[in-house]
Symmetry: C2
């Protein structure tokens, strides 16, 4: 089998553009790195192509390109790249179910990845991202999701409109406030429910809070003003779902 | 007041060494950036010196050095530095109380910062770090702790020896295992207790698990193998303390 050795190879050059959001959006594809993520993408049916070094032994039943480690590095964003990279088609947006998590203007990729992981752990069926959230297909999001993004429905929406839409469908929307609301330990969970979490620094926007049916808080020591948003979200999901 | 404008100024050059762990250990000092962290360090009595630009108006009652923004940048590890930096003396290790969190070989600075924040929120009195943990005074740890490191006792110890020591004092040591143990929701909390959490990838070491009195697990969907360690730790603290 032919091995691509040239850093100027056209196919590799094109694929390396997927490290940039603009091209991911244009091509509807993204890259994943390492066996675990490649395997998860394969199982989900979204793996299009495998890029690997000659000494990486495992095969997946998709078109495969063998490259030198130097060439493979061009497709990686990690300091010490693993020997296999997957070219993956973006996940299809599906209709949401009864347990929704809305993320409004979340910016940190590690937080989003962590929240995706916890959402799968605690049975959220759909995550709704606002248009200004960090990109779902950012490499750090994918890495910190530990492959869990292949196990959950994620959709992108205008949050203000989305809340109006689900309100009409009978959903209750729960926001978080430090100052008042119900203790998350004691709250009764509606059958059709959306929990909304906001930006790392600013929290949930006032206009969005105004649309909420109920507010939640996590009881904690007053010295600590707030928790990391990934932690706060996870505790709420853990308690409610 | 004199303004330091030279990047070669000896005092600034010396302080910039505190960006490196070796020098922080040598000098027993570290740097914090931004008003919130400077304020927390001041309140804790550990702020030694303030470095600020001329247009930063607030004063703290410690020796103050005015510098240009270019000079200040030399002491910062962020992309867009804030206008104030504090030189802070390392926190004193105190005797532990009855609610201990042990972190064995935790590597990610963001995780440690997040865990410090949650530990204050959920009333841990002492965090014990193994000798191979990420440095407490790493800038990312400090930043993601949101200043909460000034509100908790953190000590560094050989974990194996420490567990033997607290066992003799009547503490119960709780470890985490995915496969068996008690649901964290239902566990009875001993009066003197230490919870132990392990490395991001490998979890708690076998030799340490063997020393535990009880194992805990967080009930979750089987599709998800594990949670982020900051999230898992926070949920356990939230439930137990």
């Amino acid at each position: 089998m032919e091995i691509i050795t040239s850093l100027d190879n056209k196919h590799i050059k094109n694929l390396s553009k997927l490290l940039i959001k603009k091209y991911r959006d244009q091509e509807d594809m993204f890259l994943v790195e390492g066996e675990h993520l490649v395997e998860e993408s394969f199982k989900s049916g979204n793996l299009i192509e495998l890029i690997k070094t000659e000494d990486y032994e495992r095969d997946f039943d998709v078109p495969t390109t063998i490259v030198t480690y130097e060439v493979l590095k061009k497709l990686s964003s990690s300091v010490t790249p693993q020997k296999v990279i997957g070219v993956v088609k973006k996940l299809e947006e599906k209709k949401y179910g009864n347990k929704i998590l809305i993320l409004d203007n979340l910016q940190d990729p590690g937080n989003l990845g962590t929240i995706i992981r916890s959402s799968v752990a605690f049975n959220v069926d759909t995550i709704v991202l606002s248009e200004n959230c960090v990109d779902l297909y950012n490499d750090k999001v994918i890495r910190s999701s530990e492959g869990m993004l292949f196990h959950i429905n994620v959709i992108k929406r205008n949050i203000d409109e989305f809340i109006d839409e689900i309100h009409e469908e009978g959903y209750k929307v729960l926001g978080t406030k430090v100052t008042d609301g119900e203790n998350v330990k004691k709250v009764e969970v509606p059958e059709k429910v959306a929990i909304i979490m906001g930006n790392e620094g600013a929290g949930v926007r006032c206009e969005i809070l105004d649309k909420c049916d109920k507010y939640l808080y996590i009881s904690m020591n007053k010295v600590c003003e707030s928790l990391n948003v990934g932690v706060a979200t996870s505790i709420i999901l853990y308690e409610l779902f």
